[in-house]
């Protein structure tokens, strides 16, 4: 049974005013994702990538078509950590929401700090952490929500190139330790090829799937690997960009 099955989904945003007609963000999108698969989605700005994630997370309902998804947790583009909570309490937030006491939630979240190289930062407030650290904690929070599907919305878009590269290998390791079905939305084709087991290319609005490329390469992957570079070129070609 796939973790995620999307059949002919169309989503149209209702008209917001007299002069703004309804916009169709996604048109007839279909794909499935197997449990444990990392699905990378790339596409031009405004092609409905974020809408797709909101549909997967159940924040929106499709206008047409059918969507079957196991429960999904969202990692937003900006880390959106709560500035008044410590790093540990931010990560433990989903446990608290499920009714765990502060103490129990902290005890359950603390081992993850050690496993994911965050030890020593438990008590730091978000504004005392670097961008990369904040994203790790944001991802950990998403992981601790205990949902089988993770929806990552351009998780590293706001980071500089070096931090982003570090975060990509960190995420690969983290997912190896804690396998989940991942839907990774990105506008970085290289990132998609490095992290995904499969790459879906979406067309400009309204988004449709125009290419479905499977990436059967072992991790960790090198961005200089000829096969990676070939896949990257293929994806860029689908987007109509020079490789």
């Amino acid at each position: 049974m796939p973790a995620l099955a999307i059949h002919n989904v169309t989503y149209t945003y209702p008209r917001t005013g007299r002069k703004r007609p309804p916009t169709t963000a996604l048109a007839n999108v279909s794909f499935t994702a197997e449990p444990g698969q990392t699905l990378a989605l790339v596409g031009p700005s405004g092609c409905g990538k974020s809408t797709l994630l909101e549909l997967i997370c159940g924040l929106l309902a499709p206008s047409e078509g059918h969507l079957d998804a196991e429960p999904a947790a969202l990692t937003p583009q900006n880390d959106l950590l709560l500035p008044w909570l410590s790093a540990l309490d931010n990560a433990a937030l989903p446990l608290r929401l499920r009714g765990a006491s502060k103490q129990v939630a902290r005890e359950q979240a603390a081992p993850f700090f050690t496993r994911f190289g965050l030890q020593g930062f438990e008590r730091s407030r978000p504004d005392q952490l670097s961008g990369g650290m904040r994203h790790r904690i944001s991802f950990l929070r998403c992981l601790l929500a205990g949902k089988p599907v993770l929806a990552l919305d351009e998780p590293f878009a706001s980071l500089d190139a070096i931090t982003r590269a570090e975060m990509q290998s960190w995420l690969t390791e983290a997912l190896r330790a804690e396998p989940r079905t991942v839907v990774l939305v990105t506008h970085d084709v290289e990132e998609a090829v490095l992290l995904g087991d499969r790459l879906l290319v979406l067309s400009p609005r309204p988004g449709r799937v125009i290419a479905d490329i499977s990436i059967d390469l072992p991790h960790p992957r090198k961005r200089t690997d000829p096969q990676i570079m070939k896949l990257r070129a293929e994806a860029l070609q689908h987007l109509g960009l020079p490789a």
Binding site: E54, C57, G58, L59, A72, A73, L74, P76, Q77, N78, L80, L82, P83, W84, L93, P94, R96, L97, R98, R125, P126, D127, R141, C142, A145, K147, A151
Partner: protein, 249 residues
């Protein structure tokens, strides 16, 4: 040190200029007393000033508390319900546009000479800045946080408690600081509409008796109290909300 010294220096300079002006121009103390006369009045009338100060201080602290609580409730109601926001915001602005001069005598008429009409005047002048800044803080909450909280499994109430309530607090403090200053003016005004004690009342009778040094002494205490309230709120803000306080800003 600079934080303490510079304002003290500015005030000292102001008092110096005032003293110089009164002495050089031989200003009559019925028109404007010299700072030394005010200081003498502060010392001589200390027990009267103190007992009346207690009355006013109590009114102000109660008034601000009432205003802060109602402002929080109002801001949250308007944040959670668009209908409430559309319905309440215009009347709120109207409530500020109606001069207190018009309302205060009515409050006295309805509620008598006790604490209540003063509380109402103080709460009325403090309420508006509190609501405006708290509402602004709530509006700054990233709408994506609500989506995120939903996918983490939070109920609406949990989102409110964990996200919106803490996010509103940094808005409450700037409003409370403004309210601290407005409320002093409000208290003086309310007392002058009908009361038998308080610094505002004292100010009125000393002025009518042409005891200007005493009147100025009352004003000096009121000003000091406003500054103290402001400072206390700043300290509480930094202690309680360290994450919202960015030094150097």
């Amino acid at each position: 040190m600079k934080r303490v010294l510079l304002p003290l220096l500015a005030i000292a300079l102001l008092i110096g200029v005032w003293d110089l002006y009164v002495h050089i121009d031989h200003v009559n103390s019925y028109d404007m007393p010299a700072p030394t006369q005010v200081a003498r009045a502060l010392y001589d009338d200390r027990s009267t000033l103190w007992s009346n100060f207690l009355v006013t201080a109590q009114e102000i602290i109660f008034g601000i508390t009432v205003a802060a609580l109602t402002a929080l409730v109002a801001a949250f109601t308007m944040h959670l319900s668009t209908t409430a926001r559309l319905a309440l915001y215009p009347p709120l602005v109207v409530s500020q546009a109606i001069p207190v001069v018009l309302l205060a005598p009515l409050f006295v008429l309805w509620l008598g000479f006790g604490l209540l009409p003063k509380l109402l005047v103080i709460a009325l002048v403090s309420f508006f800045p509190l609501v405006v800044t708290t509402t602004a803080a709530l509006q700054r909450v990233d709408p994506n946080l609500q989506k995120l909280m939903k996918t983490l499994g939070a109920s609406r109430l949990q989102t409110f408690r964990t996200v919106e309530l803490p996010a509103a607090l940094p808005g409450l403090f700037p409003g409370a600081k403004l309210a601290a200053v407005f409320s002093v003016i409000g208290a003086v005004f309310a007392e002058q509409q009908g009361s038998t004690s308080g610094l505002g009342y004292l100010l009125m009778i000393t002025q009518n008796n042409l005891q200007l040094p005493e009147a100025y002494a009352a004003v000096a205490i009121l000003s000091a109290f406003a500054v103290a309230l402001f400072a206390v709120l700043t300290v509480i803000e930094r202690r309680a909300l360290p994450w919202a306080y960015h030094p150097g800003r």
